[in-house]
Symmetry: C2
DNA sequence: GTTATTTTTGAATAGTGATTCATTAATAAT
DNA sequence: ATTATTAATGAATCACTATTCAAAAATAAC
């Protein structure tokens, strides 16, 4: 009996992230992903049902990781809601700075991914839900301005961070990510006025 | 001699914005756009070279409008840089709230549009460039915090607003846009802390 | 009413690339 | 060494849809 060597499933996913980032989901060729993963075209279908399933897996894993992190943060009692937001921003920046291709896919292919069913929705919803809780806690504890709508903050922050990371990844990482995240935290907390 | 009736070119563009918003650029069918515009499939090619060209035109027109607005704002001497930012946010919100489909296309198809050459780059660059100028002016005049990187602010703000509008459009416009824009302005200026 | 000119149509074409599957390769078991 | 079983291959298939273009329709000019 023959046995599997290496981890082709992971190789393919890694390759797909790269190719999706470079070409976009729809213009990315399965052939190119196979090449990048050092497998034959057909092998991809041994590990993934089809092209859509590859994208779905990328988002599933990503949102799962984000949801897990935010749930842990929400549960902590040793830090304030303000610090929780800080750590969340750190986590997002850390994730994408170690995988720039993933940042690009995350920003550009959400729409395509949204069309596919599955676990990704659950985890994404969880992420939003606990983000909302942290902000509500922050309001109740008197840290955050109660006039600011929680949905607005949630989407504005997420969208702003996503766009920044996308630009950073496309700009070949020329500007410093740590400056970037400092700035985001500052804008968020204090605004831009003197 | 036969003469053109109506404005098919504009009809097609309008239809394309709708179909692109609903299905995404790559899964949008030319046939569907034609149907939506009440023309035959082939007629589309009398007015646009190909599918790409339709998307390019959408972005060209949009960025041209944004660039024009920001240039006028930048030139005004009767308002402060803070007010200029305010008005810019208003302009963006006004544009997209009157055309929700356009908001969705704008958010999701930028990557596809970026691949196409042409005027759109120029106008987009102009937009960013004058945005930068307004912020620099604001720093020099002592309104804005000089520690905040102008590129960060620019992309963060743009990304945040884009994401908000996208959610708003997809959410069938259930929440109030004017609340939304108030919140954005407030977060931007004062942050979220009390 | 006929002709000339321009617009519009929509079925046929043609290119593309995702997916399949018959074949080959590799290893384990005996 | 042989057989059984699973992994991997990649050329062939097949579905899909953007684009083309020959024909039809509409109007203007006379």
């Amino acid at each position: 009996m023959r046995v599997k060597e290496g981890n082709k499933e992971a190789d393919i996913l890694r390759a797909a992230i790269k190719v999706f980032a470079e070409h976009g989901f729809h213009t990315a060729k399965i052939f190119k992903i196979a090449e990048e993963a050092n497998v034959a075209t057909g092998s991809i279908y041994l590990y993934y049902k089809n092209k859509d399933a590859i994208l779905a897996t990328i988002f599933e894993q990503l949102w799962e990781s984000f949801a897990n992190e935010i749930i842990v943060l929400h549960g902590r009692t040793d830090i304030t809601p303000v610090e929780k937001l800080d750590f969340l921003i750190d986590f997002i920046f850390d994730t994408f700075s170690s995988e720039p291709h993933l940042a690009v896919v995350f920003v550009n292919e959400q729409q395509n991914a949204t069309k596919l069913y599955g676990k990704s929705f659950e985890e994404y919803d969880k992420f939003l839900q606990f983000g909302e809780k942290i902000i509500d806690d922050g309001k109740n504890a008197g840290f955050f301005n109660p006039n600011i709508d929680v949905k607005v903050l949630r989407f504005f922050l997420l969208g702003g961070v996503k766009n920044l990371l996308d630009q950073w990844a496309k700009d070949n990482k020329t500007f410093s990510l740590s400056l970037l995240r400092q700035n985001v935290k500052q804008i968020l907390k204090r605004g831009v006025l003197i």
